[in-house]
């Protein structure tokens, strides 16, 4: 993108309401997560049982949980934890899925068949099932949830890469590149990937939101992040039996998940509209 196109992109973007809202929400999460690395109002591993189940106050902004831990601090660390798991999982999924999809589109024939049938097979295992299998063998943990969510994402990225790449391979400039003597790898890297980049970016944003949900789900079931590290899903599951007298303990991490996922989805939607001019004209 040259300079004028970049400024045009920003101009278009800032007029797009859901993109702006999504961007703000996502940045808030990113900022909170990063901040938790340097500062939280209270250390999250500090149990202060005499002050358990306190409601919001000047000292504890969102109150304390059943161990007297500061809920606000836990939500901050939880944001970082969710993000970290999701980034690595999506990185893992895209890192394997995209090259596989590109390979399938470039080679066609039996290579494509093999890759895509393998992907269908992997797609049949939801992240939860993979996580249960992994934790049965290696015990529950953060790494397992990264792997489980990552494995689930491989076929997602392989499919979308192959699909988009196939339509690009039909274009004339690919033929031109071939005639010019460029190899398959160079064509894929120099011509295919840049042309499907926008599709991938949108998909990454959406998968990122799903990754956050999946991480919360796995921690809720006790398969993901382990104590004493707080995570949103674990906060939800611990709050369950206290719903009757301390509903805020379930509502707060619930809201954190809702706003994060909402933010990422709006961002993804907005990006798709902006990056895909054909769609924006229809609007």
């Amino acid at each position: 993108m040259n300079e004028s196109r970049l400024s045009e992109f920003w101009q278009n973007s800032l007029q797009h309401r859901s993109f702006v809202i999504g961007l703000i929400l996502s940045f808030m999460m990113l900022f909170t997560g990063l901040l938790s690395l340097f500062w939280t109002p209270f250390p999250v591993e500090l149990l202060d049982i005499p002050h358990k189940l306190e409601s919001a106050s000047a000292k504890h902004w969102l109150g304390t949980d059943h161990f007297g831990r500061d809920v606000f601090s836990m939500l901050m660390v939880g944001a970082w934890n969710s993000m970290l798991v999701s980034v690595f999982a999506i990185g893992f999924g895209a890192g394997i899925g995209v090259p596989l999809g590109a390979l399938a589109a470039a080679k066609r024939g039996w290579v494509e068949e093999t890759v895509m049938r393998f992907n269908d097979f992997a797609f049949a295992f939801p992240a939860l099932l993979t996580a249960v299998m992994l934790s049965a063998v290696y015990g529950p943990g953060t790494l397992n949830s990264v792997l489980a969510i990552g494995i689930f994402n491989i076929p997602v990225f392989a499919r979308i890469t192959r699909g988009s790449a196939l339509s690009v391979y039909k274009r004339e400039f690919i033929l031109a590149a071939r005639t010019a003597g460029k190899g398959e790898v160079r064509i894929a890297v120099e011509h295919i990937l840049p042309n499907i980049g926008s599709v991938l970016i949108v998909q990454i944003t959406i998968q990122f939101a799903l990754g956050i949900l999946a991480e919360a789900g796995l921690s809720y079931l006790g398969l993901g992040t382990q104590p004493p590290m707080p995570s949103w899903g674990k906060m939800l599951s611990e709050a369950q039996t206290m719903m009757f007298f301390a509903p805020q303990l379930a509502i707060l991490p619930g809201l954190a998940i809702v706003f994060t996922v909402l933010g990422l989805n709006l961002l993804g939607d907005g990006l798709r509209d902006i990056l895909d001019p054909r769609l924006s004209r229809v609007r």
Binding site: P50, G139, P227, Q240, T241
Partner: protein
């Protein structure tokens, strides 16, 4: 108009009869669904230590010579009466007539001899062999009389014979009791859906008074939130040991339920692998004892239900000695002891936590308390079957938290191969002395001495005595409020009209 009146009359009639029907269905209710947190590994009480086994089958499916009621009194069961010789060495049991096992075979003196010899034999897999240690010989005199001779007078022999581990089994079905228990009790085993429930049915040929209940289901619900929901929705009628103490107040204020806080024999301890480095060093165990704050664990994990203990003994027992002050909570002292032991910066270890909330939540609190003195614990949650296998059987652990719910189980510390692997000849001598002492006063003194040794040696971290938090439908009558033995005795349970 007439048409409308007719229509209303019809509606009234239908709803009225529906009400009557509902009422009568309720009055005649003869089924109880009992929730439990842990699933038994199998159903043979004579071959396993897990309390969950007895909690299903004791007094319901299996019976012993004697039985123990909820006040810890010894009552006759399959032995209708007994005579004790003047020297206290010979017990002559007169057996009940006409008792049959669920498979139809008759119960007689040969079964008693078989059951007791099987339990105390070399190859026995009984988890409580100490109960039978005093027995010298068992012999039948005719079909209905059994004579048991003891090596030494044993004060609580009749109580011992009332344990779930001492129930009577039939020689033809003993081997298959683990999956298909056959006893003499008022309930028969119907089926076991693994991971979900165990169903009991009525024993039509029961020798005694038939219980009001005709059938029962033990539903396995490991998740506290699901336990709350199942009670609220009425899917489960009762929880003898409710896993979510934070909800007690809520249930108390709900007129549909009865909430009873009673005592159990459950010493909840931070079990320590005494052979594992660095826990083999007394100073390290003392440091842990100083670092622990029992009251905080009771408040945080049990929402106040529980009593601090300083040794492996139930506080409601007459021989209990309060040793909670042996190693009072003192982080500075704990750090000093660690430094003396060669760990000035603490060390890393693991803690394996079984599913009950006292363990999972208690473990988080213990980890944070030990972190303050430099001991960094990695928390490893394990399922119950894994815990029994890895920790209890194979002793592959540093620390764990579990509640020992057997009554008067201080004797487990004499077993060198028991999972926490404590070895102390002095302690063994005290227990050996206790086993041959009949005089109550001397027994209490010896029990006191034994308690003091364990407290001093800080064998395990002594956290608290588990309270029995029972919550059930207020129309359910006759459930135990205290647990002197591990049991859910359903024989006296009924639905109020």
């Amino acid at each position: 108009m007439k048409h409308i009146i007719q229509k209303y009359a019809k509606v009234l009639l239908i709803s009225g009869s529906a009400l009557i029907f509902a009422g009568s269905a309720f009055a005649g209710k003869t089924h109880l669904t009992m929730g439990m947190v842990l699933e038994p590994p199998h159903l043979d009480p004579t071959a396993g230590a897990a309390a969950a086994i007895d909690e299903v089958v004791y007094a319901n499916v299996f019976e012993g010579l004697t039985r123990i009621n909820q006040n810890a009194e010894v009552l006759p069961a399959l032995a209708e009466s007994w005579k004790i010789s003047a020297d206290g060495l010979t017990y002559t049991f007169k057996l009940r007539n006409g008792v049959k096992f669920h498979d139809g075979s008759a119960f007689d003196s040969a079964d008693v001899v078989f059951s007791l010899d099987r339990a105390r034999s070399e190859k026995s897999t009984n988890a409580q062999k100490a109960l039978f240690a005093a027995i010298k010989g068992v012999s039948a005199q005719g079909a209905n009389t059994v004579v048991v001779t003891l090596k030494t007078p044993t004060g609580n022999f009749l109580f011992n014979m009332g344990w779930g581990d001492a129930v009577m089994v039939d020689s033809s079905s003993a081997a298959s009791n683990k999956s298909k228990p056959v006893g003499t009790g008022p309930f028969t085993f119907k089926r076991w859906v693994k991971g979900d429930r165990i169903e009991l049915g009525q024993n039509a040929n029961y020798w005694g008074e038939k219980p009001a209940l005709k059938s029962a289901t033990f539903k396995i619900i490991p998740d506290p939130a699901a336990a709350v929901a199942s009670l609220m929705a009425g899917d489960v009628d009762a929880f003898a040991n409710f896993p979510a103490p934070e909800m007690a107040a809520q249930f108390q204020s709900d007129s549909r339920f009865t909430v009873k806080v009673g005592s159990t024999e459950g010493e909840t301890i931070l079990s320590t692998n005494n052979l594992q480095k660095p826990f083999d060093d007394l100073r390290v165990r003392q440091a842990i004892a100083h670092a622990l704050n029992s009251q905080e664990i009771i408040d945080g994990a049990m929402f106040g239900f529980g009593t601090p203990i300083g040794t492996h003994f139930a506080p409601h027992h007459a021989a209990y000695v309060d040793l909670t002050g042996t190693y009072p909570h003192d982080t500075e002292k704990a750090k000093q002891l660690l430094a003396d032991a060669g760990y000035p910066n603490g060390f890393k270890a693991t803690i394996k936590l079984p599913p009950p909330s006292y363990a999972r939540r208690g473990g988080e609190i213990v980890a944070s308390q030990l972190a303050k003195v430099g001991i960094k614990l990695e928390i490893i949650p394990v399922e119950w079957a894994q815990w029994l296998d890895q920790v209890f059987k194979n002793k592959d652990f540093d620390l764990t938290i579990v509640s020992h719910t057997e009554p008067m189980d201080i004797g487990i510390y004499t077993r060198p191969k028991y999972y926490f692997q404590y070895r102390n000849a002095g302690f063994n001598a005290v227990i050996a002395d206790l086993n041959v002492t009949a005089d109550p006063k001397k027994r209490y003194a010896l029990m006191g001495a034994a308690q003091a040794i364990l407290a001093k040696d800080a064998v395990n971290g002594y956290l608290f005595q588990l309270a029995k938090l029972g919550i059930w439908n207020k129309n359910v009558m006759g459930l135990w409020e205290n647990s002197p033995v591990q049991a859910n005795d359903l024989t006296g349970v009924s639905w109020k009209n």
